[in-house]
């Protein structure tokens, strides 16, 4: 294991010194500002660094930009969610507004939930969140969504498969 780790680190070191400033410029063109570009460039190298196995890299820039592209998408998704979140907060009546520290915790949770459940269709996601967040059982969910029990069970199974994939297969 330590040998592999060393190889990975050496590889990251080379990538970093040869391509870091190129990557940052590449990101800056897409994001329009240097701060986010610097952050994401950092994340790209963190991704490479935390890999379990060294990989053969034929085209270092293509490799780095493919990771960066994914992170840029995440970045925009996050931005969008933050914006919607602020709108929702603003529309809430006073007593329902979460405390400032909870707001941040909820936002982080939402980003995570959005990332995990994004590929699911809205009703599947709704059913699963009602189960996970409110602890509702399948019959209760069936009733509140106005669909059959078999449908809800299929939704839950689908959502579990997706969570399993992210948790154990990626």
């Amino acid at each position: 294991m330590p040998v592999i780790k060393f190889v990975v680190q050496q590889q990251v070191h080379d990538l970093y010194s040869n391509h870091h400033s190129w990557l940052q410029r590449w990101l800056c063109r897409r994001l329009g500002n240097t701060f986010d570009a610097a952050d994401i460039a950092q994340d790209v190298f963190m991704r490479v660094l935390t890999r379990q196995q060294p990989v053969q890299i034929q085209e270092p820039r293509a490799y780095l930009s493919s990771i960066a592209r994914g992170l840029v998408v995440d970045h925009w998704r996050r931005r969008e969610l933050e914006q919607v979140w602020l709108e929702i907060l603003a529309s809430l009546p006073e007593p329902e507004t979460p405390s400032p520290e909870n707001r941040l915790i909820f936002l982080e949770a939402l980003i995570e939930i959005d990332r995990m459940l994004d590929s699911l269709r809205p009703p599947v996601r709704t059913a699963f969140l009602l189960a996970q967040l409110d602890g509702l059982t399948c019959p209760q969910i069936a009733q509140s969504l106005g669909v059959s029990l078999a449908t809800v069970e299929r939704y839950i199974a689908k959502a579990l498969r997706q969570c399993y994939r992210l948790q154990f297969e990626s």
Binding site: E80, S91, T137, F168
Partner: protein, 349 residues
């Protein structure tokens, strides 16, 4: 329910990828055990048999069962807040997608149409769950609020209301409403105190300064038409507000407002159950009728710009379409109940 006991002394097999059939079986058990009540002893027994039949089963179960409690810290987030936010996010992403494409083009491609169809329907179901009052496609509803205000919901609409604080708030989540505040509605129970009346839309706030107006949500904007009194518009982003007076209509977008062209039919006609007008563009009329009907009514390009006059009832769109075919040189073709095409009459093809 307590999780079934897994002996920690059993070393878990060092396998990353389990066979799909095993994962699916474990998920099926989790749905029965973790997400349902009323577990029978028979089910429990057959689960135990499955669990111990193979070490891979135990590993799969351990993983799947752990998902029930995945990220326990999520549990504190109110589900309504989470669902609301994700829904708003969906709407935003979907609106962006739709605005990029030409909707008519979308309709002419069979496969894509089906996909668009379920997106719309699922999204409707979702909104209905969250809102306090809602209507389905083809339904209209009138409600009287605590302060005497009448709100009429048009087809496929949803609102939430909050009158508990020092302002009266109506959140328009979907569709179209007609608001009519009564003459004494401005005076709250506390004598002399007037609670402001606000309508919140995804694109901005509206303050009602007058008595009768219609708000209609579009993909990326809202149309506000005032019949009596005045309404003040406040876009979400942007400090410029605008006042809409009786007889005027205005678009409200995320960051601005703009005067809306006069429509060929009155904005509040639907409240009387009709679409009526002179020289309406056929495509506009068809688009309007399709709001009251599940599925699509497609208007053939060749007849889109034809002009029609008349009164069309929205409660029975089949009848309205039949009326159209009888009074105009057009044909109405039912591909399915959910897909109707209005085109030139057979002789004109």
């Amino acid at each position: 329910m307590a999780p079934p006991f897994i002996n920690p002394a059993d070393p878990a097999p060092q396998i990353d990828r389990l066979p799909e059939s095993v994962i699916e079986a474990a998920i099926a058990w989790a749905v029965k055990l973790d997400y349902n009540d009323n577990l029978t002893p028979e089910t429990q027994q057959s689960f135990d048999r499955w669990l111990h039949a193979d070490p891979l089963h135990a590993l799969a179960w351990q993983r799947v069962h752990s998902l029930k409690h995945f990220k326990n810290d999520y549990r504190n987030i109110p589900s309504r807040l989470a669902l609301d936010t994700l829904q708003a996010l969906d709407t935003k992403r979907q609106a962006r997608k739709l605005s990029r494409r030409n909707v008519i083009k979308l309709l002419s491609l069979g496969g894509v149409t089906v996909a668009a169809g379920w997106i719309t329907r699922e999204y409707t179901l979702w909104q209905r769950l969250l809102a306090d009052v809602s209507t389905v496609v083809g339904e209209q509803k009138t409600l009287q609020l605590a302060d005497g205000t009448l709100i009429m919901l048009n087809t496929d609409s949803a609102i939430s209301t909050n009158f508990s604080g020092d302002r009266r708030l109506v959140i328009l989540r979907r569709g179209e409403i007609l608001v009519s505040t009564g003459p004494d509605a401005e005076v709250s129970t506390r004598v002399g105190q007037v609670r402001p009346f606000w309508i919140h839309t995804p694109f901005g706030m509206l303050q009602a300064l007058g008595t009768r107006f219609v708000v209609r949500l579009d993909h990326d904007r809202a149309r506000v038409s005032v019949q009596e009194g005045r309404v003040e518009l406040h876009p979400n982003a942007g400090s410029v507000s605008a006042i809409v007076r009786a007889g005027e209509s205005r678009w409200l977008t995320e960051d601005s407002t703009a005067p809306a062209a006069i429509q060929s039919f009155a904005e509040d006609d639907w409240a009387s159950g009709v679409i009526s007008g002179k020289n309406m563009r056929l495509a506009d009329l068809v688009a309007e009728l399709s709001r009251y009907r599940s599925g699509y009514i497609v208007c053939d390009e060749r007849v889109a710009d034809w002009r029609v006059s008349g009164i069309f009832h929205v409660k029975d769109t089949d009848q309205a379409l039949q009326f159209l075919a009888q009074t105009q040189p057009v044909s109405v073709t039912y591909r399915t109940r959910f897909w109707v095409t209005v085109g030139p009459e057979d002789g004109n093809r």
